[in-house]
């Protein structure tokens, strides 16, 4: 029977980053991945004969620099400008990093945007270091990273009194109000509202939505804050690079190993039982799986306190982002828009809010909003010659549709194609095959509870020291030797590896103590 010092459950980006960090510190680490290939949301698949999507996620914007540097990842990154599509063809180009260049708007709007953008980036920059640390606890002897916290406080203080007051004002307001206050162009407001709410269960007018934009802007690619990039080979190339680095560090990766239960003896995790009946023993178990799955299913409620179980059951994890893959027989025409850019259909902030309204009632929106990438233009190998792959994240899709799963999926696909046809006339005729993953499909395939891409909604009441729950926020669980390392923990999802890295650091720190 093979034995390992540390078992990492889940071979997604967080599992891989945690495994690498622990192996580097000298531990023998085995990663257990249920699927045939590792990568999690960064694993690719053929969605139609000859057509491939290189991942559920398709844009890189949050990759943790510690992970890139630590794992020595060489990613060939193409910066992605965004285009806010207009049905009229009067597009707005949102170039550079987060619209550092803006074309297609008035001078006054450009100036207003530059001011708002600078402010948002400044605030996000102050908060960014939070991502790379375990969330603090309000308790004596909590083992907080005091120095980092002091630096953070100093950085906030150095904003100056006016800016600091402004940060506190905007921190918990909604993005819709902020955009109304500062901007006039509906395309620009629509784009920013879309970026803010991407992957969440919030509309632009929902309370606390602005902080999610700050969270997004706190990310960086290649040292560029708030940048968006497409890695060569897509997300699966990121997963591949991480797998290679982990392997080189001595991590053993076992694909097709589905964990049925975490073995616990005397209140301590001692290994796992695979669904094949095979038992693997270890001194520590690090779960990069969903926190609800880990604790409610693999540990089970009987070994946990009732309050914790109840709070975990009630932790919100509704997904509203669907993933659309189209196999196209030719290049579509989005009324002249640069097809190598990230194309966003979100004509106004109201359009985003209107697309959110129906999902509250388990219904499908008639005019969904989406971000579109024509991936085959960047990587021709994804489609047969002359053909193309369109990859889109579409919002908002109900995770528990009233109409039933199949009917809602068909309805949503129809709504997507209708919306696409409005912005790219003739595209419907080019569709050879369509795959739409609704939140419940994503849950089934990727283990994301409720189909939420963050493995638990990223919202202010479930962020930082409240993620996934206050008592689980330092990556520890009540079971000795069992750690949480997935996107369900701080700082949340996105192809990032940050939660896994933080968890590994917490485990190593505890080992030293």
């Amino acid at each position: 029977m093979p034995s390992s010092e540390i078992l990492v459950l889940g071979g997604g980006t967080n599992g891989l980053s945690a495994a690498f960090r622990l192996a580097k510190a000298g531990h023998r680490v085995t990663v257990l991945e249920a699927e045939a290939t590792v990568g999690g949301a960064a694993r690719g698949w053929d969605f139609a004969p000859g057509f491939r999507t290189p991942g559920l996620a398709h844009v890189l914007h949050l990759m943790d620099p510690r992970v890139i540097k630590g794992m020595g990842l060489k990613l060939d990154l193409t910066p992605l400008p965004s285009i806010a599509l207009a049905a009229s063809g009067d597009h707005l180009t949102f170039g550079g990093t987060f619209g550092s260049t803006l074309t297609g708007v008035s001078d006054a709007e450009s100036k207003a945007w530059a001011d708002l953008r600078a402010k948002l980036l400044r605030f996000a920059g102050v908060l960014a270091p939070m991502k790379q640390m375990a969330p603090p606890r309000l308790a004596s002897g909590a083992g907080n990273e005091t120095l980092k916290l002091l630096k953070l406080a100093l950085k906030m203080r150095l904003l100056g009194a006016d800016d600091f007051r402004e940060l506190l004002r905007v921190l918990l307001i909604n993005i819709w109000d902020a955009l109304e206050d500062e901007l006039t162009d509906p395309r620009l407001k629509g784009l920013v509202a879309f970026d803010t709410t991407l992957g969440t269960w919030l509309g632009p007018r929902s309370p606390n939505s602005l902080i999610l934009l700050l969270n997004r802007l706190a990310g960086e690619v290649d040292g560029n804050q708030a940048a968006l990039a497409l890695p060569k080979g897509g997300m699966e190339a990121v997963a591949q690079a991480m797998t290679t680095a982990a392997g080189a560090a001595g991590v053993i990766i076992r694909a097709g190993a589905k964990v049925a239960r975490i073995l616990i003896e005397n209140d301590r995790a001692v290994g796992v039982l695979l669904d094949t009946g095979e038992e693997l023993r270890a001194s520590q178990v690090v779960s990069a799986l969903n926190p609800k799955t880990t604790l409610l299913s693999l540990v089970g409620p009987r070994l946990l306190d009732n309050g914790l179980v109840t709070r975990l059951r009630h932790q919100k994890s509704r997904g509203a982002a669907a993933k659309l893959h189209l196999a196209l027989t030719g290049l579509p025409d989005f009324r002249g828009a640069d097809l190598k850019a990230r194309l966003v259909i979100a004509p106004s902030s109201n359009a985003v809010e209107s697309a959110f309204n129906p999902v509250k009632y388990g219904e499908v929106p008639s005019a969904p909003v989406m971000e579109i990438l024509l991936l085959s233009l960047h990587d021709p190998a994804l489609a047969p010659p002359g053909h193309h792959v369109l990859s889109a994240i579409v919002q908002y899709a109900p995770h528990a549709p009233k109409a039933g799963e199949d009917a809602a999926r068909a309805q949503m696909l129809e709504a997507c194609l209708t919306q696409l046809e409005t912005f790219a006339p003739g595209i419907r005729a080019q569709v050879a095959h369509a795959e739409l993953l609704m939140p419940y499909d994503i849950e089934a395939r990727f283990g994301m509870q409720g189909g939420n891409w963050h493995h638990g909604e990223l919202s202010v009441e479930q962020m930082l020291f409240l993620r996934p729950l206050a008592e689980l926020a330092q990556y520890r669980t009540p079971i000795d030797g069992l750690w949480l390392a997935g996107a369900g923990s701080h700082p949340g999802g996105g192809i990032s590896g940050a939660a896994g890295w933080n968890a590994a650091e917490a485990l190593l720190k505890a080992g030293k103590a």
Partner: protein
């Protein structure tokens, strides 16, 4: 409007025994208990207390909250919920137990009845349905509140066994904390040898339709033994002598506590003996283990013997007449023991110093401050041999 919607007109519910209790309640002295009308003193507090200790007393127990736990996982469920081992409780038996939250702080105490291999009843002071239902996640159990479906009486006192025998229920072989079922008026009556007085006594459980016939049978057959209806005031005195605690009088249940330092762990309430550390996981176990291992318990719960005869109810306790060391939650002059007794929370660090109780004695509209040296006394203050004797004594 249907009558169902008019409940607000009578915010307190009347129990199935209300017609009889009301007739006996010549002082018309009522108080609320768990949403029901409950008698405080019916006619004469001293005579009611005397019935408990010297004859037979009847107390309307209907407002006590009752939950039924049934299903294949009932024992496992209760082992996860409560600190004691419910699996070891034999069918037909009762035990006293407590349960805590994740932090090991008391939620409530109560008695657990094992009615069948997969069938239990919890009797307690406060309502906990959400907590009980949440705790059922992952267990094959059905939880139901059945407070209103059961009419319960407490028959306590040295003559209680004789009253039952005269009423046609042979409980001579019934041991303490055991129960037995008897046919009664076309239905059934369950009798458990349990109670809240520390004396020989029984609790009687039937359906509400048989409540008044039961009352009438007891009072008719029990007349030679001076059977008497009692109110909460007399019972409270008896329970204090027995050293029993009451939720929300001697400790604040954790879900209701507003102030962080008001909650108590079982270890701090002298209830550590209930905890089965070997039965496996239960809610609060990790916190309680940490408290035990780290010796972090701040409080201890003790009985006090205080000079004089002025009740020290609500008094503060001082170490060396100066440092505030604790407070009293229940106190009275005990007519049976001829002692001034009290139940008190004392901070552990002061336990072995000289403890003084500050009493404000009201003497003709004027408070007089007394500072009296108290001594820690063993609980229960009063535990007569007749409480446990089987067969029960023939008084």
């Amino acid at each position: 409007m249907s009558m169902d919607n008019l409940h607000y007109l009578t915010p307190l519910k009347q129990t199935p025994f209300h017609p009889r209790v009301a007739a006996a309640n010549v002082l018309n002295n009522w108080g609320p208990w768990a949403g029901c009308t409950s008698a405080l003193t019916l006619a004469d507090e001293a005579m009611e207390y005397t019935a408990i200790r010297n004859a037979a007393s009847v107390y309307d127990l209907c407002p006590m909250v009752k939950y039924r736990v049934q299903g294949a996982d009932a024992a496992d469920y209760l082992n996860r919920l409560t600190v004691r081992n419910a699996g070891k409780l034999p069918v037909g038996s009762v035990h006293y137990t407590v349960w805590t939250d994740d932090h090991g702080q008391l939620v409530d105490d109560g008695t657990l009845f094992r009615l069948g291999p997969t069938d239990y009843r919890i009797c307690c002071q406060e309502r906990h349905l959400p907590w009980l239902l949440d705790s059922a996640y992952g267990f094959d159990v059905i939880i139901a509140e059945e407070t209103d479906e059961i009419a319960a009486l407490s028959l306590q006192g040295p003559c209680s066994a004789q009253v039952l025998k005269a009423s046609g229920f042979d409980i001579s072989s019934l041991k303490p904390f055991r129960m037995a079922t008897f046919p009664f008026e076309g239905g059934s009556l369950m009798i458990s040898r349990t109670g809240f007085t520390g004396d020989l006594g029984y609790e009687l459980w039937t359906d509400p339709a048989r409540a008044l016939p039961l009352w009438d049978r007891l009072f008719t057959e029990g007349k030679p033994w001076g059977i008497k209806a009692i109110g909460s005031t007399a019972l409270n005195l008896a329970r204090l002598e027995a050293g029993f605690i009451i939720t929300n009088m001697d400790f604040i249940p954790a879900p209701q506590a507003v102030r962080e330092d008001r909650t108590r762990s079982p270890l701090e309430m002298g209830l550590g003996w209930l905890i089965d550390w070997d039965k496996g996981s239960f809610t609060g176990r990790r916190a309680l283990k940490a408290e035990l291992d780290g010796k972090t318990a701040r409080w201890t719960f003790v009985g006090l013997d205080i000079p004089g005869n002025i009740s020290a109810e609500g008094s503060l306790i001082y170490a060396g007449q100066k440092d505030e060391a604790g407070f009293i939650t229940a106190a009275a002059w005990s007519p049976t023991l001829k002692c001034n007794i009290a139940l008190a929370h004392v901070e552990k660090i002061y336990l072995h110093r000289d403890l003084w109780v500050e009493i404000y004695a009201l003497r003709e509209l004027q408070y007089v401050k007394l500072m009296l040296r108290a001594t820690v006394a063993d609980r229960p203050f009063f535990m007569p041999a007749r409480r446990r004797a089987t067969p029960p004594g023939n008084f």
